[in-house]
């Protein structure tokens, strides 16, 4: 079966086309979903792409969480559907309370676009199943507000539950516990600051992003296989 991926387009999103290219190249069927819609088409994976939704005015992701489509995204997640927030998408999921924590300005107070190494610290998720435990992936970051923060008690809980899925090998932004990507307790909502969709081709510098995006598609097709 072909996995169906829905990419949410907020006004101000700008990585939606890249997400479409990357998931299409991996064989998924990709549909673009405008934020103002109050229904969600039948999809297996909802992607909140990078960019500057609503200009990131007020706070990154703050206005986007009130876009009409977000209620449907929440429903999709509550039904166990997969959700992936990349960069601005991660910021939106945190603002929406679908993932814990918040993203602050980078410690260096500069926008940073660079290749970084990420370590897979939990490969037992739908997002990391193709990776070895501890595998290091080369994937670029591209953000001003990527400095993840949560209260110590929340961080402890995430650690205990193995919800910290990806950590920076060399922390570029000051995020607590080197967090680059996390998941929710149910392990179906994922958010990360780096851009795996930009690392799906050696010609562009790395294809390690396929490990992550491919894992999600595997999960969809495996589950379909089990179901029937």
């Amino acid at each position: 079966m072909t996995a169906r991926v829905g990419v949410i387009v907020f006004p101000g999103s700008n990585c939606e086309l890249d997400a479409r290219v990357a998931f299409s190249a991996l064989g998924a069927e990709v549909e673009m979903i405008w934020h103002a819609g109050t229904s969600l088409p039948e999809v297996d994976l909802v992607v909140l792409p990078g960019g500057f939704a609503h200009g990131d005015y007020l706070r990154t992701g703050a206005l986007a969480r009130f876009s009409p489509v977000m209620d449907r995204v929440r429903d999709h997640a509550l039904r166990g559907g997969l959700v992936l927030g990349i960069c601005n998408g991660f910021q939106i999921l945190c603002e929406a309370g679908m993932l814990p924590g918040a993203l602050r300005k980078n410690n260096g107070l500069k926008f940073l676009c660079r290749w970084v190494d990420l370590r897979v610290d939990n490969n037992d998720t739908a997002f990391t199943s193709r990776a070895e435990q501890g595998q290091v992936l080369r994937i670029p970051i591209n953000h001003f507000e990527g400095n993840w923060y949560a209260e110590p008690a929340v961080v402890d809980r995430l650690r205990e539950n193995n919800q910290i899925v990806l950590r920076y090998v060399d922390n570029p932004n000051g995020s607590v516990d080197d967090v680059a990507g996390i998941c929710n307790e149910s392990r179906n909502v994922f958010g990360l600051m780096p851009h795996p969709e930009r690392a799906c081709e050696q010609l562009l510098g790395s294809d390690d992003g396929i490990v992550l995006l491919g894992s999600l598609l595997d999960h969809v097709t495996d589950r379909a296989g089990v179901a029937g």
Binding site: G12, F52, H54, F111, C113, R198, L203, L204
Partner: protein, 732 residues
């Protein structure tokens, strides 16, 4: 008090120009009309000083689909694959308010590309500042880079390269140029108001008092110490609206609903109304009470010349108006019908109280003054060219090498380009830090190869030769990456054109660009002229920035500057003249001299080198190729090594070694290739008549020049840390 009799002067018009307006109208202009003339006849909009010189530039080739005069030039890179390419300046606004000045510069060039119906897919930012140890420079660098980063990243267009240059002459006149590449996804749009009765729709941001007088006062009058009071006229950018505008414009272009389309830039709404009508031989009636305003109490003249950002003007068949407005609404953009196309040949501005302006469109857009200004070779030039060029040997070769490697000019600009999203669109095969950017076009194998270059010191020493060198280096950068140079856009930054020596520099530069472009087969698709880069009577170096566009049929064949494998053979291609030191980095940085004559350029040798590089890339002969320019062979080798995380082992036999290592002879490149390829590469060089000398090989850990050497880590620290440290030192 402003006196009505001299009002035109406050708006930047001369007495003669006012007389010409009166003659053309057969009466005195109204206040609104005078404001419209002041912006349309400003240097920035009318090219009144430069036009007669620019006519001499070549502008035609079979693959040039649209040449100068439109929003951007259009070049066919491969059959059916066309791109838009254009450079602009935002120098004065960036000096007054670096963050917003630079940001709105990006916004403006992006709308130029949009006006053609093309999708903006890459930006390049050539930047020039005063010396980095001046805190004011550090402030400007921070602000400009942040402005570009904030705007460019938000709108989702990658910034894939540029330049960052420091010279004393730019201290009070920083140059903030910006180039944009666009992909023509659909049919081309044109800035023409065809069809009497068609509706005129204003799309995008509301109109406020931003940039009132920007064109006439900011861009066209010399600065003096009172200029900081002009701050209110700087425009403020809204990248969020621009992002929406991009998608809305592309959807409109796809829809086929538009008859004509143009952006609003310098000159505000006066510009597209008059230009679109003049080009089509029609007229336009504009009801300014329909313009959506940010501030309710704006005067009509303010509405007519406001430079509020993120606005476009569309001409639409009345039957399609609702469909166009619906697309704009979908993208959450304001859009209003503000007028209609007439057959009168005039731009009529009306509001509820009647007619505010009624002037021939041609008079505004095409009959601006044309000046054949006086030219005079500067008296100081002979002495400058005759002075010693600063080629004296260093006391210590290794120290000189490290000094150059760590100079602000040569040191890594990673601090700058890491603040730019240079990867979005999944096309950046080669990004910042190399000779040229290689941008694979969405959904294609074809890549556009782009580079910007503006050797101001060379042009100061000899404007004609310097301009030729600028074109040659930009083309060489493209060829080194494997691209075939096709066409240029140029941004000509100069001092006050009313001064004969500045105007002579301008004429010489244009002549040099023309000759080099003809020799290399790269016509000019358009560009921009920025005069009055002069403060308190002191002008910048004549600084033509050349934006070269080339094509590469298969992006996978592109060649980078980085060494790839230890053991690869390193060759220097092209002749080194030990006398080519005038205006060099070595002369400036090590000996503190900018004098003599710039390096000598033989355009046939240059062209042969390009063919060699392009063919070598096509045959995948090279592991790396790098233009050998600022800092000469020594720096070229170091850049290839540091980019690849490797060292090298080379040896040269020449006497006076520093002359060989640091000479800036043009028409040279450093290539590396696997040892088994030596014979094939030699043969290729012979076939193209290009001298080639094997210099050594790629090695790990050490940059070894034979008589001296530096550990990789030391070199990397000097190169990578130079810029950041200098900036930090300046700001503390």
């Amino acid at each position: 008090m402003i006196s009505p009799a001299t009002l035109h002067r406050d708006l930047g018009l001369t007495d003669d120009e006012l007389d010409a307006i009166k003659t053309r109208l057969g009466r005195d202009p109204s206040y609104t009309e005078l404001a419209m003339f002041s912006v349309m006849w400003s240097e920035h909009c009318s090219y009144k000083s430069s036009r007669i010189h620019l006519r001499g530039l070549p502008s035609e080739a079979p693959y040039i689909l649209v040449g100068p005069g439109e929003g951007a030039g259009i070049v066919e890179l491969a059959p059916g694959v066309s791109v838009a390419w254009k450079i602009e300046s935002h120098n004065h606004p960036s000096f007054v308010e670096p963050f917003n000045g630079a940001a709105t510069g990006v916004g403006g060039i992006v709308r130029d590309i949009l006006s053609m119906g093309a999708r903006p897919i890459a930006l390049m930012d050539p930047l020039r500042f005063g010396p980095l140890d001046d805190p004011r420079t550090a402030y400007l660098v921070e602000g400009v880079v942040h402005g570009i980063s904030n705007y460019g990243n938000s709108i989702g267009v990658p910034t894939v390269g540029g330049e960052v240059v420091f010279e004393d002459c730019y201290a009070e006149n920083p140059l903030v140029n910006v180039a944009c590449l666009g992909l023509v996804e659909n049919r081309l749009m044109h800035g023409r108001a065809e069809g009497e009765g068609n509706a005129v729709i204003l799309i995008g941001s509301s109109t406020g008092r931003d940039g009132i007088g920007g064109a006439s006062v900011l861009a066209s009058a010399e600065f003096d110490d009172a200029s900081s009071e002009k701050r209110p006229s700087v425009q403020v950018g809204d990248p969020f609206t621009e992002r929406l505008l991009i998608e809305a414009c592309l959807e409109l272009a796809r829809s086929g609903l538009l008859v004509g389309f143009q952006d609003l830039g310098a000159g505000g709404i006066s510009c597209p109304t008059s230009e679109m009508a003049a080009k089509a031989g029609t007229g336009m009636q504009l009801d300014i009470s329909k313009v959506h305003l940010r501030e309710a109490d704006m005067e009509p003249f303010e509405i007519m010349i406001s430079e509020s950002q993120e606005r476009m003007l569309a001409v639409v068949d009345p039957a399609n108006v609702e469909a166009v407005l619906a697309i704009c609404r979908k993208w959450e953009l304001q859009a209003n019908v503000v007028g209609e196309v007439t057959k009168t040949g005039r731009v009529e501005v009306i509001h509820e109280n009647g007619v505010l302006a009624d002037v021939p469109a041609d008079a505004l857009a095409e009959e601006g003054p044309v000046y054949n200004r006086g030219l005079e070779r500067p008296a100081w030039l002979d002495e400058l060219q005759g002075a010693p060029m600063g080629a004296e040997p260093p006391s210590d070769l290794e120290a000189a090498f490290l000094q150059l490697l760590g100079s602000p000019a040569i040191g890594s600009k990673r601090w700058v380009w890491e603040q730019y999203d240079h990867m979005i669109f999944l096309g950046t095969v080669q990004g910042p830090g190399g000779d040229a950017a290689v941008i694979r076009l969405p959904g294609q194998d074809t890549a556009a190869v782009i580079s910007v270059d503006g050797p101001g010191r060379y042009c100061y020493l000899d404007p004609y030769e310097g301009a030729r060198l600028a074109v040659a280096e930009a083309a060489r950068n493209v060829a080194a990456a494997g691209g075939r140079p096709l066409a240029i856009t140029n941004c000509l930054n100069f001092g006050n054109p009313e001064k004969p020596d500045v105007m002579w520099q301008f004429a010489e530069v244009v002549r040099g660009i023309g000759d080099a472009c003809r020799a290399l087969g790269t016509p000019v698709t358009g560009g921009n002229v920025s005069f009055y880069n002069e403060t308190n009577g002191r002008a910048i170096y004549p600084t033509p920035v050349i934006g070269m566009l080339g094509s590469l049929p298969d992006a996978r064949r592109s060649v980078g500057l980085a060494f790839r494998s230890p053991g690869d053979v390193i060759a220097i291609v092209g002749d080194t003249d030990p006398a080519d030191f005038g205006g060099s980095e070595y002369a400036k940085t090590v000996n503190g001299v900018v004098a003599g004559r710039p390096p000598r350029l033989d355009l046939s040798a240059e062209s042969a080198l390009h063919r060699f590089l392009i063919e070598g890339a096509a045959r995948t002969s090279f592991s790396s190729a790098h233009d050998c320019a600022g800092g000469g062979i020594a720096i070229g080798l170091a850049e290839s090594a540091l980019a690849g995380g490797l060292g090298f082992q080379v040896a040269f036999e020449q006497d006076e070694r520093h002359r060989f290592l640091f000479s800036e002879s043009p028409s040279r490149a450093i290539v590396s290739f696997p040892a088994q390829g030596v014979e094939a590469v030699r043969k290729l060089a012979d076939d193209y008549g290009v001298p080639l000398e094997i210099a050594g090989s790629v090695a790990p850990d050490r940059l070894d020049f034979g008589t001296f050497g530096v550990g990789f880590d030391v070199a990397q620290d000097v190169f990578e840390g130079a810029f950041r440290r200098a900036l930090a030192a300046s700001m503390s």
